[in-house]
Point group: C2
Chain length 383, copies 2
């Protein structure tokens, strides 16, 4: 981090861990006898607990959404550009909660945790978790924090799916929901990309059926491949073209299999740094949670019927060059909300960054998002 | 094949091999002392050799474009729907030539051939080949067949790039060029997908730096992954959605890592059958040829200047849902040809099959293509 904390940063933050001693039965039918939830908070909860915001993270995210863990940190939390004093999600007013989902690898119970039945890490035996399971555990955290109703639940990508699930499953527990760069379910193509990523991980001989820890190995190649592939789907063709084009790494063609184009070098670097801090079993779990998300499946595939229960005001945001979850996928959500006569605002943001746009500073996105948050804050102050 | 040869089939065909005893210096600077070209022909060359058509194949294609090799064949050649008596490329009039490119694995010199310097198969030491190298060797074949000028050179995808290169490099040797579902060069995203495929192959421990034959292994996982990924880019999101949607393999969710959705099953099957008949070193070479294709690089990146030499009449065809080489990429070619004042027709075909549409029977595509071929035939008969 910089020598001094930037004025608009939440500053130095520390995570908290909540131990839940009671069992949870997951959507799969399996259960956890007890589990931990790691989370961070930014800002101050007001006396009537009416200013609380829940941030839901995406595939490779975690609870560290804003600020710095130490003065040595090179980078702040993953959504620091949007969370802080005076920022879009203004911590001068809001109390922001960000939790690592179970199945994760950043401190909440997951494959690296000890399985009480065996006394050894779960590894690949950690149960499959779903978006609904995450929402259930996030509600446990809300109970612990005495937050009866979120001012808003907010998420992008897989986080947007959690936000949507909150609005459907716990209508009385949130006043607003903000669903960014998401979809009501994966398409066959989305699932196909996930299956390639999983196959890459599982076919790495260092994966050892998920027991790589016991073998003191890491499925570096497989997880690296999964990350390279993911990265392609997060960026737009345009963004890659503008950033790398066909620029050569060494100025001239060398007609071999070493890195020839800058884009190859970038992907290799990205994947190498990723595999050092992200767990392969968690990656598998996260892709399965994506695949399984389909709230309308329980409502005869009728999305309008699915969102019938929602009472929150809804903001849906998409990005023009996002081809992972294109604007058409957000239209599906918006149309269902309109058919169900819900209060919904929709913004389609012109942005060339593809799916990753939801993490980036884009002025129209920031303005619309901020105006919406300001409305939430002013309603909170009036009540 | 059916019990009897279908009336509109070229029937039973056999490949021919041409041995070129003279050395070729490749674009990379490396050379082959001598090499073989395997090819098939359909129809009869007329007395003035004015009815010859060259078909250029794509990444995983070969010389077997039409007809059957034996009565036991389950499937005909890869473009059988378009080549035959009365078909789009009508063998009642045209003499069609289809050659396996060097670096391939279907009979032309490639990684499986014997390196005269070592007496052992080239394997990974077969030189990198480019689209221009292929065109050069295709011209050798034309010389051998006494074809001074092709009535047309035709190709889809990587084959379209060869057709384009023919028109640029040998303007006097073709009267027409048909460039289908192609691009004037790969985008950064295209290269990125190729790099993921290559990384998958090279990181398979059974790859042995390309010497898998010597180890009696095959990089099945890596090549299978490459094929799975390729397959996703060949199909449109729409086509996958219509074909598979979120249909479950076993009717209900099983919350595990076995095949859950039909699309997963399909991809696994496709990749398993592919690895049995396609060579991994060839796959690497083909992706590099794609990456390197960029004829405008020698003309200050000015595509209009690049096509200045073309004298052939041009037909460019694209497909609306092709996201590998989208219609915009064909527009680049068409615009350059228009700026250079060339004779060009362009058709953008409404089709939901994505990139693979170029191989499929789509009525408007067939009509436009056939009308163009009929015009070529009638001009040939008049001259």
């Amino acid at each position: 981090m910089p020598d001094t904390v930037p004025a608009d940063s939440v500053g130095l933050v520390s995570p908290n861990t909540l131990h839940i001693p009671t069992p949870i039965t997951l959507e799969s039918g399996r259960s956890l006898a007890h589990y931990d939830l790691i989370y961070e908070t930014y800002g101050v909860l007001n006396s009537d607990a009416s200013n609380a915001i829940l941030i839901c993270h995406a595939l490779s995210g975690d609870h560290h959404a804003a600020g710095y863990h130490s003065m040595k940190d090179k980078k702040p939390g993953w959504w620091d550009g949007y969370i802080g004093p005076g920022k879009t999600i203004d911590t001068n007013y809001f109390f922001v909660v960000s939790m690592n989902n179970i199945g994760g690898c950043a401190g909440s119970s997951g494959p690296k945790s000890i399985d009480p039945e065996t006394g050894k890490p779960y590894g690949p035996d950690f149960p499959i978790v779903t978006v609904l399971d995450w929402v259930t555990t996030q509600a446990e955290l809300a109970d612990h924090l005495n937050i009866k109703q979120w001012a808003a639940v907010i998420g992008g990508s897989l986080g947007g799916m959690q936000a949507m699930q909150w609005a459907i499953s716990y209508p009385e527990r949130l006043r607003n929901v903000i669903i960014i760069a998401a979809a009501p379910k994966l398409s066959a193509q989305n699932i196909a990309f996930n299956e390639v990523a999983r196959t890459a991980i599982k076919s790495d001989p260092d994966f050892h059926n998920g027991h790589y820890d016991e073998h003191n190995t890491l499925p570096r190649q497989g997880l690296g491949l999964a990350r390279m592939l993911g990265h392609i789907t997060y960026l737009s063709d345009q963004a890659m073209g503008e950033k790398f084009g066909r620029e050569l790494r060494h100025g001239s063609l060398n007609y071999g299999y070493d890195v020839e184009f800058q884009i190859e070098s970038y992907l290799r670097y990205q994947s190498e740094s990723f595999v050092e801090h992200f767990d392969a079993n968690t990656y598998l779990l996260m892709t399965k949670a994506l695949d399984y998300f389909d709230p309308a499946a329980k409502f005869d595939d009728d999305l309008a019927k699915t969102v019938e229960s929602i009472t929150a005001k809804c903001l849906v945001i998409s990005f023009t060059t996002d081809w992972r979850f294109s604007p058409e996928r957000s239209h599906e959500i918006v149309n269902a909300l309109l058919i169900a006569k819900k209060e919904v605002s929709y913004a389609e943001i012109e942005a060339n960054q593809g799916h990753d746009a939801f993490l980036m500073p884009i002025s129209r996105y920031q303005e619309i998002f901020k105006a919406y948050m300001n409305r939430i804050a002013s309603e909170g102050k009036q009540s």
